[in-house]
Subunit: 334 residues, 2 copies
């Protein structure tokens, strides 16, 4: 037996704790080629909100009554697969539970980097890191000298995207975040040139213009809505937006209207491009190499907000949607 | 002296004849390096509406009290430039007038193709043709086998874009137009696989889905608004939209909100890219070569709606904005 969190019911609008249930589930016996993993850390991510709806998102919806899924790091405690030994550390997608049985092909062995916690494989060295890397470099085609705007700049993805831009020679990197504490973190710890709190001090477009008076070349969009309209407004000619997420809209029962200034996409010859990190697994080795190196050299930094215990995973997820995390929101399971 | 149409006042919302004035203007004496051109045909195009506003568009605004500008084909009647002889046919940007004095560098000599009227250099072989060519092939990165949707399919740009897609091996080409007559033209004459009238028979998204049940890979957007939302809805993964124009919104005093389904740009990994044909003059020779060849082989066709006389140019422009033209709207000046 192990403990898991199931989707009790599909949320309408903002999810609540009632949409989740902590249950005991049977662990099937290991078949040949399978491993049993004890999870150490699990991830809660914005994209999971989409999977809680019925058939609306880009990955299959979670099933009501079944354990949720998501990134997790664990250790192999039983193995009937020659590739894995007891004690190996693995990254896999059976989060939201304390133990999981899986085929060897569903687990990826990781070699811990000195001085880097295992949880980093759910953040800066994992899916969020790859999202930032691919979104900035491949989708937005960032090049040295570009002025870059990152929304959700204190979050798991945004914090990495902005630092990559800085390390690769952006002329200016600015970010938005949801509190003054986060704004300070983004400037003081992550090394952005400027940042602003989008919940205070006036419309996003005004604050963005103040932060980057000469305009932007690249917008890394994690939030959608008003931010996207502001970024289009402040874009220079040939500007490029990587559309990565739209967390500001995920809990709207009806999707909000898009930017009113789409004509500027024509007038300024802009490119808006959506992407899903799953398509870009081939870039994982490049990302691990570059970001791993920067981590070793302490040129890139990251923060985690850690919640303890599987029973608190729903609260961690809800807090992340409300923006209560600084950096990556992690649930520690052991 | 010559006759010209000036901008009497800036339109607010839909322009009217009162925004224009027919005047007599002095022709300056020819300086060294200049030519005097008698205009034969002039163009009226959607983008001109943007130039009638104050500093809002991507080209400098027209000046109140000054002659309007735009594409025109004329013949050289006086020359103080060695590159031009009397009788040469030239394409230039001093439309909206019967005669014009210009520097030789502002005129482009054209060699008429057998069987192709000179006015084609304002349409299928001119700026609209280049817009279609670049938008489809370079901006939307069309490739053989793509399913293509073109809005404004009976217009100067759309009619060419759809035919290029057909000639280059689209799996399916569908279009929208503003009347049943245009729909018949698009299917019967231009060879689209299907077309629908967006003003009747229900929402654009429903009609589009009926016309192309398996979805689209490329959307060539001439109209913006509801069409763009419908195209995003019906796009397949990795779909690409060339944002060329938004004629449905040009006369709105306030820009309308954008599509409500922008999240699908992420979920489906779509690319929306705006462009301005002026940036792509380097593709003119390729376009002339390919489309010229197709014209000679009668594999591509075009239609013109011809209005007679400079005094009727404002009416032609207004009619074009209302969609009264089939194919390119042309004003014959001689």
């Amino acid at each position: 037996m192990t403990r898991a969190i199931t989707l009790r019911s599909r949320p309408v609008g903002w999810p609540t704790e009632d949409n989740f249930e902590l249950v005991e589930v049977e662990l099937p016996p290991l078949r040949e080629g399978q491993i049993l993993v004890r999870n150490l850390f699990m991830s809660v991510d914005p994209y999971m909100r989409g999977r809680m709806n019925e058939g609306e998102s880009y990955v299959p919806p979670f099933e009501v009554g079944e354990p949720l899924q998501g990134g997790a790091v664990g250790e192999v405690v039983e193995s009937r697969a020659p590739e894995f030994e007891i004690g190996d550390t693995v990254l896999h997608n059976y989060g939201w539970r304390e133990h999981a049985v899986m085929d060897a092909s569903e687990a990826q062995k990781i070699t811990p980097l000195p001085g880097v916690p295992l949880s980093a494989y759910l953040g800066v060295l994992g899916m969020p890191g790859l999202t930032a890397y691919v979104g900035l470099l491949d989708i937005a085609a960032f090049k040295e000298g570009d002025a870059v705007f990152v929304s959700g700049a204190a979050g798991a993805v945004g914090s990495v995207a902005g630092q990559i831009a800085r390390l690769k020679g952006a002329s200016r990197v600015v970010g938005s975040a949801g509190s003054e504490t986060k704004v300070r973190y983004v400037i003081d710890k992550l090394g952005f040139d400027d940042a602003f709190c989008y919940k205070a001090n006036g419309p996003v477009v005004q604050q963005l213009r103040r932060a980057v008076p000469d305009g932007i070349d690249v917008y890394f969009d994690n939030v959608g809505g008003e931010h996207l309209e502001a970024a289009i407004e402040v874009s220079r000619r040939y500007g490029r937006t990587a559309m990565c997420g739209a967390i500001s809209t995920y809990n709207d029962p009806e999707p909000p209207p898009g930017p009113r200034n789409l004509f500027q996409v024509i007038a300024k010859r802009l490119t808006l491009r959506g992407f899903i990190v799953n398509d870009h697994a081939d870039r994982m080795p490049d990302m691990i190499k570059e970001i791993g190196q920067w981590l070793q050299e302490r040129r890139i930094t990251f923060e985690e907000t850690v919640v303890e215990g599987l029973e608190n995973a729903p609260a961690a997820f809800l807090g992340m949607l409300r923006g209560e995390n600084l950096g990556k929101m992690i649930v520690r399971l052991v």
